[in-house]
């Protein structure tokens, strides 16, 4: 009779439960529950009220998270044929910063009839971008008051982050702000619903809410400078006692036990985030190896013994990923999305015909054709800024460039140039970490792109000069959550005492290694030199054509209604 741990990964469109063996990480069963209301970006899901949302909004329904606990979790237990008594721990991870207002008893405000028709009462999903004016104010005031914490976040707080979203609620719906006893990350809220007790995790606080182990949150004077009503936000609506990853948040409540089919009292791990739990699940619990979670966008995670200021990263948080280390995070905002855009907006009809007749996925077809090209043969070079640049330039106003096109240029050449551009973007991040004292000797990839695209991994290896390995699990975040669940249970209960122990036992890599090809590296070094010069020219103010184009675009778009009325 083994010991098992359950991981639940709450993604953007669905929740996924995975049951694994604590001894070796073997995956016994998995179940996926799509969110009934998905990403809410047009209207609230109550047709009788017909509440439409402005552009850039992205909400979720907290009831959808609870349904995952009520359906996917019992389903994996049933599929695996495992007794509830043998499940020793549960861990979860959620996208972040995904946050909501709640009452003091843990009820989401959107669950209350009085607030159901107010968009600000709902969960603000990570990609809710309507708080940009609030983020601008946060950055402007921080610059004026010389806040010391800006450096930890690459010099800029994002519109996606916690206080941008909180400030938007206060600005636009003070009644919601007033009724919100708590403002809380969704991941902490779900753990609260599992245990019946509110706890807060250090990871999201550090990466998304300007907290650090040494300095805590920004002080009340700073918040007051943003808005006097916000001065006491931390003490009235958040918590200052934050728990590190791997700690035990509590035991499963009787109510949650009924939902899930697990036993009351089962150890529940402190809340965590999808990208961050993936790190130990990809075998990384020490400095020197970077984990890349490659999906629509890419997160780069690496551990360090010391705190370093690395320009343009998303954040550095002590204990943020693995207790005892500084966890560094960087990001590329357009990776899988980039290739998807090309297939949607740039792929001619004959490629669709060929893919259909050969029963192939369009990306697989393009990668097959792109793999036949020699490095440099297309004569193309791209800047991978179709969705701005997160690291290291932290500038959403940058845009994509393709250079070198001729009448002989083919779609598979452009497709490969876009892949290469994202690889150059990764190399900028790797080189920036190294130049600032955070070594990166090897890279472990996980996520959809890493699973499906040997060509992409080989190009990344050739461009960065680093060996790429791939996480052994195809459910890396869920495995990571289960590992933290096993640590929350502890060795005495059949789990593990540390995440390092859990990683040694439960995490693995696939056999294949993508090693740099010296001849390809040589050509890519030249191409990267060209990329880097153009990156700096267009990205660091040498030539502001992108800013001019963006300004003209915004003027033209804002002029349109006037023209229509005229």
């Amino acid at each position: 009779m083994g010991s098992y741990a359950l991981g639940v990964d709450f993604g953007t469109g669905s929740g996924r439960a995975v049951l694994v063996d604590v001894a070796d990480g073997a995956q016994l069963a998995t179940a996926v529950e799509p969110y009934r209301n998905g990403v809410i970006d047009e209207r609230l899901p109550y047709p009788d009220q017909n509440v439409t949302l402005p552009p850039d909004w992205a909400l979720q329904d907290p009831e959808d998270y609870l349904r995952v606990l009520q359906t996917a979790v019992p389903e994996v237990l049933r599929l695996a044929g495992v007794r509830a008594a043998d499940v020793i721990g549960i861990g979860i991870d959620v996208t972040s910063c995904t946050m909501l207002p709640a009452t003091a008893d843990g009820t989401a405000l959107s669950q209350l009839p009085a607030f159901r028709s107010n968009p600000h009462a709902w969960v603000k999903l990570w990609k809710h971008h309507a708080a940009q004016p609030d983020a601008d104010r946060i950055n402007q005031v921080a610059a004026e008051t010389g806040e010391p914490w800006l450096d930890r976040y690459g010099g800029k707080i994002s519109s996606e982050w916690f206080f941008s979203k909180a400030l938007q609620i206060l600005d636009e719906a003070p009644e919601v702000y007033a009724a919100a006893d708590r403002l809380i990350e969704a991941t902490d809220w779900i753990v609260w619903r599992l245990t019946g007790v509110e706890t807060r995790n250090a990871c999201t606080a550090g990466y998304k809410a300007i907290w650090s182990k040494r300095d805590g949150f920004p002080d009340a004077a700073y918040f007051a400078a943003l808005d006097p009503r916000l001065a006491d936000v931390v003490d009235t609506r958040m918590r200052r006692d934050l728990l590190p990853a791997g700690a035990r948040a509590g035991g499963l409540s009787p109510e949650a036990a009924l939902w899930t089919g697990l036993l009351p009292g089962t150890a529940v791990a402190v809340a965590n985030v999808d990208a961050h739990v993936a790190v130990p699940a990809a075998t990384v619990t020490e400095p020197g190896r970077m984990v890349m979670i490659m999906g629509t966008s890419t997160c780069h995670m690496v551990l360090g013994k010391d705190e370093r200021t690395v320009p343009g990263m998303c954040g550095v948080v002590e204990d943020g990923i693995i207790p005892g280390y500084f966890g560094y995070e960087a990001g590329q905002s357009c990776v899988g999305d980039h290739f998807e855009w090309f297939v949607d907006q740039g792929l001619p009809e004959p490629y669709h015909d060929e893919a259909r007749s050969r029963g192939m996925d369009l990306h697989a077809l393009l990668q097959e054709k792109a793999a036949r090209q020699r490095v440099g043969e297309s004569g193309l070079l791209a800047l991978d800024w179709w969705n701005g640049n997160r690291s290291v330039l932290v500038d959403a106003g940058l845009s994509g460039v393709l250079i070198g096109a001729t009448l002989a240029t083919t779609p598979e050449e452009i497709y490969r140039a876009l892949i290469e551009a994202t690889a150059y973007g990764t190399r900028v991040i790797v080189d920036t970490f190294e130049a600032n004292g955070v070594p990166i000797n090897e890279i472990v990839a996980c996520g959809g792109l890493a699973e499906k695209s040997p060509l992409i991994l080989q190009i990344y290896a050739d461009v960065t000069g680093r060996t790429f390995r791939v996480s052994g699990s195809d459910q890396t975040p869920a495995l990571g959550s289960a590992m933290f669940g096993a640590v929350a249970a502890g060795a005495e209960a059949g789990g593990h005492d540390t995440i390092e122990d859990a990683a040694r036992a439960m995490a693995s890599l696939k056999d294949e290694a993508y090693r740099p090809n010296p001849s390809n590296q040589e050509t890519y070094d030249v191409l990267y030199g060209e990329y880097l010069r153009l990156h700096d020219l267009f990205g660091r103010g040498g030539d502001d054509v992108m800013k001019v184009l963006r300004r003209l675009r915004d003027e033209a778009k804002s002029a349109r209604p006037i023209a229509v009325e005229a």
Copy 2:
């Protein structure tokens, strides 16, 4: 009973005969004869010999030209029901530089069984690009000896031009060069076959064979420096007595009268070139109005009273277009080809579906969608160098750029950005002419793109700040050739004494005028400023990324066979 003139326009894929009324230019009949052997770029059209051609070759069969005279010309007479006696003159135009070796009696070498299997015996079409090493030598030697004529050609002789092709014959097939009593432009060769007498025109000599009215051809010492065997090329294989446009080359020979159904002795005009005959047919016989022949590429033609050195033009030739004026020519090497590339290589399947279901041409569909965009709304800017840059940078090694792409970028936005890029390219040419003393007040467009695309003409008007008119005839070059035929006949025979008289009577413009929209102009001025800065950065040596990419491409391509063998 009227007087009629016949124009025959020999294009790249077919010949087109048009019969027009000399009094008003009205078009009575037209007939097209596709070339049986088309563009010969893979193998010679004698399957039993199986002679394959290297890359970059493009040949034609001179018999195809004769077949046009034997079929299309009788056909228009039949269709129009016009008596041969009422056709007073014939003019022709051909692509250029399209040249061939011939014997002293006017037989093309490829017509002789002994030479039929030698590719160098055939007509080298204008887009035969295999003489680049010869062009390089021509330019290198000219630079070393400080030839004064380089300035007249924007500083560089093209691989497409006469002596590049002649030198390639000498280099690679000295036996063909030895057997060639004559090296001659196809347009002069066809007139020779019509009249039975060899004449040469000043237009192709000036634009393609380094001749000027004042200085003649380069001297023997220069040719000897290229190759001692070439020293006497002009005196042994060409002619120094060159006839201006509009002159009478001779009367129709009895043999050609049998081919065509016209009367022996009918006036035949001096040979001419498609782009150049279009100028008076587009009503332009004076300085100040530019003619743009807009097709796969664009030719820009303008007249001047004085000879000016305008950087980056294709050539300036006294009497080259209209006797008494200096004819300036500039060019953009990628216009219609640019849009065609996009439709072939970048247009997603749903656009094909929509065009099919609405029974629309793909370009018409894209232009309909592009016309809905406000100026600047796409946030895109392109450099129109998909096929290098002819004027004003004269650099085939430059390549295309697209800047400003986002995940929201649509195909119709890219398509419009490519149109705008070609408009900026035209503005560079217009502004360069004006800055060097060649005024351009209005522009007359002709050719396929001008006929079919009001959106393109409006964008060009907005970008250049010039009013665009469109030639009244949809067969502008053939009309121009007929006009020169009427001038060759002269007023006494029922024609016209000068091309100016012919233009007043026979040429016209369509009613529509595309005038600059001041509000669009204002935004385009800003965008053009960005274009111009990037044009100079990438095109004038400020940033050599395109040259690096081209070098890597060529290295990768040349490395391929080795890799395959390995």
